[in-house]
């Protein structure tokens, strides 16, 4: 079980990792199939070095996992952090929905009490 602080850090890393079109494109490709770093970099008009930096950010967010097969590095997409982002967003929605429903109910209660007087 991760501490709340570690959970926060991972959420930060995930949101940062997602906040870039190149990294989202990398994730889209890896979601279709695992790939070697060199093969993955091919369709991109930027250097292998830049792609490596993007991959590092995705690994830090635990969105991409790297395994070594001989001299090859194979990358794989891991969807779990996306689930955590979805949960976080859903919690914010619930907070405000429940809060506003409670305020609504409170005001209706007050109006009813007023009418009864």
């Amino acid at each position: 079980m991760m501490s709340p602080r570690d959970q926060d850090r991972l959420l930060d890393n995930t949101l940062v990792a997602l906040a870039d079109p190149t990294r989202r494109e990398i994730l889209r490709l890896l979601a279709q199939t695992d790939a070697r770093v060199t093969a993955l970099a091919e369709p991109f008009p930027i250097s292998l070095n830049s792609i490596s930096k993007h991959i590092k950010l995705l690994e830090r967010a635990e969105l991409v996992e790297r395994r070594r097969v001989g001299r090859e590095h194979i990358l794989r997409f891991r969807p779990e952090p996306l689930e955590r982002v979805r949960e976080w967003i859903s919690k914010q929605e619930t907070f405000w929905r429940v809060g506003m429903q409670a305020l609504d109910a409170l005001l209706n209660q007050e109006n009813k009490t007023e009418e009864q007087r």
């Binding site: 914010q92 907070f95 405000w96 506003m100 305020l103 005001l107």
Partner: protein, 73 residues
Amino acid sequence: MDAKIDARVSHRFKATAEQVYDAWLDPERVRLWMAAALKSFGLAGDIQHIEIDARAGGKFRFSDMRDGTVARH
């Protein structure tokens, strides 16, 4: 990097706009609805302190108990 994020919440109230506006700025009513919202987070919703200074340039502050410590917002 532009760190500005626009977040919107909408809810249609049965009460009048005046009532909602007054309630929005009233610490005792804020305590009630916010406690319900905090409970939806799995928190105790034990709100300690609410301060609302509804003026241009004013401040709002509130705090609730979480695991025996005061969380200030």
